[in-house]
Each structure stands twice: as C-alpha cells, then as structure tokens.
Symmetry: none
C-alpha cells in the first residue's frame, strides 16, 4: 500500500494526497468513518486540517478517493495475477488466495472497504456499477470462462454468484482479520475456500 517503500529518505514524503489517504485509512479503520474527525486524520497525516481540503473536497470525498484508488490497485493486481494461469479452476484459486493476501497485507484498507463503505447505501448504489462492479466482474468472468469451456457446471449463474463468492472470500478474510488470536492461517482459509467452491462448481 505504501508507495514510498523504498528507503529514499530525502525524497520520501510520498505526495501529500497519498499521505492523507494512508492516514485516513488507518484512522477510519480504527475508529470508524463517522467516529473519526478530520482533525484525527490531519494529526496522523502530519498536515494541517485545512491541507486536507486542498486535496479532497470533503470528508466523504476522502473516503471515496480511498475506495477508488484501492479498487484500481486491487483490480490491477488481480487481473495481472490471474492472467498468469490458464484454466479457470486455477484462476479461481488464484483469485481467492490473492484476495486473501491483499486483505492480509492491507488490513486497514480492507476493513475500511468492507465495513465503512457499506454503511452508506448511497455509496453502494453509486459504485455497484463502478469500480466495485469491475472487481466483482473479475469473478464473474472467471465463472463464465469456466462455463464456456465446460469445466464449470452449466447451472451456475455467474451473475448471481459473482458477489456470493466475493462475499464469502471477503467475509472470511475479515473474520480472520478481526480475530484477536489467529487460530488458523489465511493459507488454510484459501485452501478451504478453493476446495469448497471448486468442488461445488466443477462438472
């Protein structure tokens, strides 16, 4: 998530907008969007409150920007990774393990996306057809591909199940994330899920 992972100190400061978004992600994940104040975000980002308004129209816009930026990132990562394998089963496996890994590596972000974004039906309605829909369609495409190739059952409706599968994966990831004492690894989860869905889907 941190684009400034290289240790070039002097040039460091990643771009103020990014710094603010990172800070906001952390703050929102910890306290929830509505319980976070702009002052909180500013403090963590080490900027003045007013500075935030130079980069984002308002508090909502900040949340939306986080969403859109990370969705772009997620979609790009997933699309790219999935392209490395051929058959739909492996693609689905890849998707599952990658999504879990992304959640694991960006826990705050994942939490914000999962929890905070849903709270506003408005957001959901607006973005269902947007970036979020794009991400869901990654799953849908895999399902359709599998169906066309005859490896997935014909009676599976990609349009219906795309979100179900995404939801199952994401829900599991979050469950794991919020679990205070990890009782199993995310890798184990990935296997369980893959096993479940593939067996459920394959002809």
């Amino acid at each position: 998530m941190n684009t400034h992972s290289k240790s070039e100190k002097a040039e460091a400061k990643p771009d103020k907008a990014v710094r603010i978004k990172d800070a906001a992600t952390r703050v929102f994940a910890n306290k929830g969007f509505y319980n976070s104040t702009i002052a909180d975000v500013a403090k963590v980002a080490e900027v003045a409150e007013g500075t935030i308004y130079l980069y984002f129209k308002n508090k909502d816009d900040l949340l939306i920007s986080i969403f859109e930026g990370s969705m772009d990132f997620f979609i790009q990562q997933v699309t790219q990774e999935i392209a490395t394998v051929k058959n739909p089963e492996d693609k689905l496996k890849k998707f599952i393990s990658l999504h879990l890994r992304l959640v694991q590596e960006n826990p705050d972000l994942a939490q914000v996306l999962q929890i905070e974004l849903r709270q506003s039906t408005k957001f959901m309605k607006e973005y269902e057809g947007g970036k979020f829909g794009d991400y869901l369609n990654v799953v849908r495409n895999i399902l359709e591909e599998g169906r066309e190739q005859g490896v997935f059952r014909k009676d599976i409706e990609p349009r219906i199940l795309r979100r179900t599968i995404f939801g199952a994966v994401d829900e599991m990831a979050l469950d794991w994330l919020l679990m205070p004492k990890k009782k199993y690894t995310l890798e184990a989860c990935a296997e369980q899920l893959s096993a479940l869905f593939l067996k459920g889907i394959i002809n």
Copy 2:
C-alpha cells in the same frame, strides 16, 4: 396524552419499546445509523424524543437492542425450522432458504443488521461471541453434524466455513435487497447457493 386513564397496560398497541425499535429499524435502514437522528426515530415512532430514553440508554443502545432482539428471533426461527428435517443436507438447504426468506420479509432489519451494525468495529468484536456467534453456530452445527455422519467431506473445517457460508448467503441476500430492479427471485438464489455449497461439501 392518554385520556382513557384506566390502567390497561398491556394494551393493543404493541409495547412502546417495540414501536420504537421498529421505527428505528426503518429509519436506520433508510438513512443509515449515523445520519439518523433520535428526532427522526421519535417522529416515526410517534413518541417524544425524551420517551426513547425511558426505554433505551442511548442511541447506541437502541441499535444494539434491535440487534439482540432480532438475533433472538432469527435464531429461534432457524433452529425451529431446521429441527423439522433430519439429514444435514436438507438442514443446510433449509437454513439457506430460510435466511433468504427472513431477509426478504424483514428488509429494513436485514439492512440494519448487515450494514449499519458492522460499521462499528466495536460492535463486531463485542458481538462475535454473542448472539451473532450463536447464529453462526447454527451453520457450524449443521456442518459438524454432516461431517460426523459422514455425508460432508472430512476436509471441511466447520469453524472456518461457518462464517463463510453465512457470509455468502447474507451477502447475496443484501445484493438482492439493494438491487433496484430485481433480476431474479430469491428462490433462484437459494437454489444456486444450495447447489453450490452442497455439491462443494458433500462427499
């Protein structure tokens, strides 16, 4: 306000607390918890704002009460219904279709439970082990029963998948709920999900 002063306490109009919870459910579902005011709830419940505080400690408590009350109801419904069938496959089918039906019949409530409640990490953490965990365990019990009876695969971890399956079902329900133009019936969803999971799980 009460001109008929006789002490018919347990009268026709449902308990005021219930009226308030129903109103709150409707309001929270429409505008979101944080965008709803106590005044909004009071207006819909046709009580004075202060009255709400006679029945609930504060706004958060109102949300929690909705949650707990409905979870009790859901658990009771599901448990009872599931008891009518014997084998685990049918139980899972029942759970899936029943949960979807409950969502369909209580859309506002479902939305509040799914969306509004999650926005607070606190709630999630606190209630994972409470009523919500109880509901999740209905799924877990079905899974374990199936495993023990040898109808479900041994390599399926009930503890891991209980929330996944719940999540998949609930996510789908919400997806359907928020969909402006229903493109398919919830019954179709139930079948898809049952097909998917049973095939995925059964030996």
Copy 3:
C-alpha cells in the same frame, strides 16, 4: 423596544424569541453582523447557542427577523401617528420628527437597520418591495397627497423623492446617533429638516 417594560418579575421573560432578537440587535449594533458570533448573541440573550436555532433558521434569518419585526413596528407607529393630522405639511413634519424619535429611542435597532441591512445587496433587493418599501411608501403617500391637494409642487416626483427624503432623515439620524458628543438636539434636526423640505416642496 423592550416589551417587558412592566416590572412583573416572575412573568418577566418576554418570550425567548424576543429576548434573542433584542440581544442580537444589541450585539449586531456593537460589533457588526459579520463580526458577531452566535455565541455572542447567546451569551447576551442568556440562552444556549442551540436555543437560538429553535427560533431562527440561521444567523441570516435572525437578522431578517429583526428587520421585519421592527419594520412592522415602525410602519404601525408612523401610520398611526400620521393619521392624527390632516394636511400633508404636518404629516411630513410628523414623519420627520417621529422617525428621528424612533431612532433615538431604538438606537441599536436603528443602527442595525441602517448599516447592517445594507451590507447585503441581496437583502435590499429582496426587501425593497417588502416591508422597507412599505415604509418608504408612507413618505410617498404624503408627497402624493400634497400634490393632489395642490399644496406641494407639481414638479416633485413622489416616486423619486420618497427614498431621498427618507434617506436624508435617516442619514441625519444616524449621523447624530454616532456622534460621540451631541452638538445639537434631534429636535433641532427635525426642525431643520422640516424647514428645508417643506420650503422646498410647498407651492
């Protein structure tokens, strides 16, 4: 201005809206509308800040309410007083002396009306045809009456001069009001103005 001039202590508190308007008038006159805070007004009115919003939509509305209320009062006073005399010359005299007296007796109010209201062209445009226009028309009516009766010159345009005369009177009043050391009485002013205008107008 104070409606609670009677000394009935217990019943005193005039009506909270009035108390707030009175306080606002004082505060706005002292510090100017834009340099006054709602907190200032609340403190002077001895109410909580939030209380102000129970009676007025917002800060602007408070200013407008002051304006409308006092215009009603002014118009009523002037109309009533003027009706007591017959010929237009006396009416004009009455108007002049009465307006000066009203300013003298309600200095804060006069200042707010004169200074604060003008600052917003919007207000002026909106109210030219409203309460303020009504007040101006008191002058216009006197002028027209005089013309019709042949006592005022025909070449005097009531529509043009109504505001001029009002302006002259009001400007003088304010000049006197803001003068730290009164060098002459308002009565002297009234006489000067009457002399000037009557001589200027009469046939």
Copy 4:
C-alpha cells in the same frame, strides 16, 4: 513571470496595487466585503493571493485603501468642478449632478463606499473626521458660502445639513444604482434634487 526583464517599472499595465484595488472594488461590490475572499480578489486581479499582501497589510486595509483613494479622487473632482462656477446655487447644483455622475460612472466603487464601508461602525467613526468628513465639508462650505452671501436662508445650519444633503443625494444615487430596471434617468434625479434643495434653501 516577467519574461521581458528590462526594468520598465512604470509600465503600461497600471500599477499592480491599482489593479488589485480595482479588482477588489468589483468583487466587493458584487459579493459584499465579508462574502468576498482574498482568493476571489486575486483571481480577478490576476495575481497570486500572496501578492496582495505585498501591497496591502490585510483585507481591511484593502477596503480602507479603496476608500481613501477614491475619496481623494472624488474630492479633487468635485472641488475642481465646483470652482468653475461662482454662485452657491450653481455650486450646489454642480455638486449634486457631479456626485450622481460619479456614482453612475463608478457604480461598483459607489456601492462599496456606500454599502460595504458602512457595515463597520469602526470605519464610520474613524473616517467621519477624515476623508469622508472632507467630502462632507465640500457641501458644508457651499452652504456656508451661500449663507454668508445672503442667498441661502440664515436659519439653515450647514453643519447639520451637510450630511443630510449628501445623504439624500447619495441615497438616491444608490437607489437608482440598485434598481434593476431604470425607470428614470439620473439627470432627472439631479433636477429633482436641485429643485427641492434650492427652493428649500434659497431665501
């Protein structure tokens, strides 16, 4: 920004301070002093926000500078013009028509002077004895001259009426200025006013 680096200081484009004042006049007239931002002014003046602070101490100082500069200009114009005629009646006529013309030719400036400047009691108090007083004294001098020469009535107090006459003229000008559809010309106003005051004043 300046690519032609030769030191042509006093170049074509009017002094930057003037540009800023002109821009501010326009902006203040349109939106009001308190509703205008330095950013607004900077944009219209086509300078950076910071630049304004190289020429003016702060926002108030900008307003005051506009006031003082234009008062100097007004006084100079009026004084000069009035000197061209001899008798006090003509001088008063000249003053009236000239002031109206100045308003007509500098509507934004007139509005700022009349409306915006007054909103602050401070300004009024401070400037009564300053440039504004000087302008008022032009009227007073005419009145006194006329009295001394025996053409104006003795019972007219120049000190009292100077502002009244100024106020009447200015008020009328503003009335005309803010009138959306001009129903009469300013020349007509000038005649009405001259007629009124001269008849009112002359022996």
